[in-house]
């Protein structure tokens, strides 16, 4: 086969998939805002994505904060810039690490499980059965999961931010001998609302992408293991 042909085929396939995914995302978003709604399922998904992810997200955030404080101390101590540690910890956690870690943890915990669950329903015709029982599967299966992802990830990240900063505080105060009041004052002084908000918006997007990919791949799965 011609080399150009391979590239062309690959590119066309890429475009087709992107298009399908875009249409799927648009349709599911429109189903989030249009009735009927399924509050029971939304709450169930929120508990699954938000509440049950707390331990793993909290644990990673705690250690991320601790490591951040410890390692930046190693570096900053050489320039007598220890005062900046609180600043580094809180900004990296709220702006970057919180959303990324929570997003990764949720992707691992939820994304694949979602694809497997909806995929099983597709293959055993449960998705078709929904349609015959006056229920739109996009509304019943996809929209609640996307909504839960969009809303729960920011909340998770908020918790992760607090725990992460607390991890940094623990190491700084009990290992590196910082003054607790000074450390907290430094943390607070450098933090702006925008830092937290940008992290939460990011988290929301991560939640959307993780649940979207899980639902998309489950919804379009076919036949066999």
């Amino acid at each position: 086969m011609n080399f150009v042909q391979i590239i062309g085929r690959f590119f066309l396939g890429f475009l087709a998939t992107t298009g399908r995914l875009g249409i799927f995302a648009g349709a599911s978003l429109s189903h989030i805002v249009r009735p009927p709604f399924y509050p029971r399922i939304i709450v169930r998904q929120m508990v699954e994505i938000g509440y049950f992810s707390l331990p793993v997200v909290g644990l990673t955030a705690l250690f991320a904060g601790m490591v951040l404080a410890l390692q930046s101390y190693t570096g900053f101590a050489r320039f007598s810039a220890e005062g900046a540690i609180a600043n580094v910890v809180v900004l990296s956690i709220t702006r970057e690490l919180g959303p990324v870690l929570a997003g990764l943890m949720v992707a691992g915990r939820i994304g694949a499980a979602m694809a497997a669950e909806i995929g099983t329903m597709r293959v055993t015709e449960q998705v078709d059965a929904l349609t015959t029982l006056s229920t739109n599967p996009m509304k019943y299966l996809v929209a609640p999961r996307l909504l839960a992802g969009l809303t729960m990830l920011p909340l998770l990240v908020l918790v992760a931010d607090v725990i992460g900063v607390f991890g940094g505080y623990l190491v700084a105060v009990y290992k590196l001998g910082f003054n607790p009041a000074n450390y907290l004052q430094n943390t607070w002084d450098f933090l702006e609302a925008q830092d937290v908000i940008s992290g939460l918006v990011k988290a929301s997007m991560f939640g959307f992408i993780v649940t979207l990919m899980g639902c998309y791949h489950g919804y379009h799965s076919r036949g066999g293991a």
Partner: protein, 258 residues
């Protein structure tokens, strides 16, 4: 049994997946109150035909009338309204794993908001009783039931909203002969009680002979024969003859390799 106006009418229905033609001008009439069974080999397009009627697949061309109303190419909302007339028994039962049995049965009722949860539960238990299952089964989850019981629950779910037309997709597949006969009896009893029109697809001839008033045979994307159940043995058609006697030799060549 057949009234003047057919309940379902298929005219020149075509459906292809990529280059593979599955339905190639299928024509079918299902009269009000009759029980029609479509027989045909694996891969002959039986399931695709039912899915086209239900709107789970879109027919490429042709016309499908339900109560005289065209359903090919209608909007999603219209489709939802038409589908309220339908009940469907899926081949693998297709019960929702995450819901207890009673909620499975009451699913359509709750979706249409015709009943409160409490009332829907009572209706569901009544439907379960109709298929010979006790109230205690209502609290179990589908995974805790045997195959035969799952089929019964699926049957109860299919009739829960008193549909005018019930579809049966290979109702006896995967069951032992005795349980298959029990399900056949149930199908006859239920369709009579509900007064529904039934359209079944199967390749189980014993089941077909039992539940059908009329049998139609689908081959190569077309209905090649249809007639009253009693006449199928005298059908002057080599394809039908080969199928009902289950012979490997004959005009129908099974694709051993896909």
């Amino acid at each position: 049994m057949t009234d003047a106006a057919p309940k379902i009418q298929l005219r020149d229905v075509h459906k292809a997946f990529g280059g593979k033609i599955v339905l190639n001008g299928a024509e079918l009439d299902v009269g009000t109150g009759e029980s029609l069974v479509v027989i045909g080999g694996s891969g002959s397009g039986k399931s695709v035909m039912i899915k086209c009627i239900l709107g789970l697949l879109a027919a490429d061309s042709g016309s499908i009338l339900v109560d005289g109303e065209e359903v090919v190419g209608i909007s999603a909302r219209e489709r939802e309204r038409v589908n309220k007339k339908f009940g469907m028994l899926f081949q693998g039962a297709a019960l929702f794993d995450s819901l207890p049995v009673w909620e499975n049965v009451a699913f359509g009722l709750l979706a249409e908001k015709r009943y409160s949860r409490h009332e829907a539960r009572d209706v569901a238990l009544a439907k379960l009783a109709q298929v010979g299952l006790g109230a205690e089964v209502g609290e179990l989850f589908p995974a805790e039931l045997s195959g035969g019981m799952q089929k019964r629950v699926a049957l109860a779910r299919a009739i829960a909203s008193d549909p005018e037309i019930i579809f049966f997709d290979e109702p006896t597949t995967g069951l032992d002969p005795i349980m298959a006969d029990v399900i056949n009896d149930l199908i006859i009893k239920i369709t009579r009680e509900v007064g529904a029109t039934a359209l079944s697809i199967t390749h189980d001839m014993a089941s077909a002979r039992k539940i059908a008033n009329r049998i139609a045979m689908l081959y190569d994307g077309k209905i090649i024969w249809s007639g009253p159940t009693g006449e199928i043995d005298e059908a002057d058609n080599a394809h039908v003859d080969q199928f009902i006697h289950g012979r490997a030799e004959g005009p129908i060549k099974m694709a051993v390799r896909a």
